[in-house]
Symmetry: C2
Subunit: 156 residues, 2 copies
DNA sequence: CATACTAACTGCATGATGCAGCTATAGGCT
DNA sequence: AGCCTATAGCTGCATCATGCAGTTAGTATG
């Protein structure tokens, strides 16, 4: 039987609990918008909303609302794109950077506590495995088509 | 910086996509109820809803609704508990077992495809580390208290 | 210029979740 | 027995994340 599937199920449970814990404790950025903030920060100033949608694999409407919330909270600044009248460019504000650092720090400390008795090698190995697995799943998702009978089929 | 946090973020994205893929393709058990079904199955016949809530770390109301959906779909049978007039016992029906097997199989195949070029040792190691990490996170969550200033503190 | 495309937003729906409140039963204590 | 508290489960209401469809405005291509 699939151990990995069950493991992921359990992992999702603790992740849900973790997010709940955080949202209880802090007047934080709304959960979904935090990931968005992280991506905007990673993309650097001048990012477009559509790039966010692509990066996060989310619907543009979801991105639009999340960005609107971030802008309302003063964490992200929206500027009209000088080269494209339809688009706006996004930039993380100093307040946004602080909020992001704060949030990441919160998670960081929790993970650090969880991994307190792991060796650096174990942590590095797990990090690698996790990344490799995610990539593998992504590939499997994109290269696999799904028939109407519910069977999986490799795309050719 | 926290590699693990970013990895988890990415992992959550592909998991979301995976669930979407599945719900597109199949007239399946509603997502949240699938996990419930799995737990009912694991607990064996005669399980109580409150045990589900405890196992899944979900609110009893959430469990109640999910179970109601499963019963409506004929995947779970509800019987009054002979020893406790307030409670009902739950049992997975043959149809429920089939639906569960079907769903698990779907995920299994996808994961198998993703891990196609992993060695058995690598898979086993990842499985182990994943379980260990989840447990560690759970411990960190339960043994850590949270102050109003947002700092983490180890419970004593 | 006219048509097709694209960036972003908004309206509406869905699903998962929690909290508060309700009902009925159980258990303990006097 | 009679009462008070705890518990099992359900339902109403709210929130959040998300998607799809439709709209508006600007771009690009013939």
């Amino acid at each position: 039987m699939n151990g990995i599937g069950a493991r992921l199920h359990d992992l999702l449970r603790v992740i849900r609990l973790t997010k709940q814990r955080r949202s209880e404790e802090r007047t934080a950025v709304p959960g979904g918008a935090l990931g968005m903030l992280r991506i905007i920060d990673r993309l650097g100033d001048g990012a477009h909303a559509r790039e966010l949608a692509a990066q996060a694999a989310l619907d543009p409407s979801t991105v639009s609302r999340a960005v609107a919330a971030l802008v309302a909270d003063g964490l992200v600044a929206r500027q009209p794109d000088p080269h494209d009248g339809r688009a706006t460019t996004l930039a993380v504000t100093p307040a946004g950077r602080a909020a992001l650092a704060d949030a990441l720090d919160w998670y960081q400390r929790l993970v650090d506590r969880a991994l307190a008795d792991w060796t650096p090698d174990e942590i590095a190995a797990f990090d690698r495995q996790l990344g490799r697995f995610t990539e593998a799943m992504q590939d499997a998702l994109t290269t696999t088509s799904f028939t109407t009978t519910g069977n999986l089929e490799v795309a050719r």
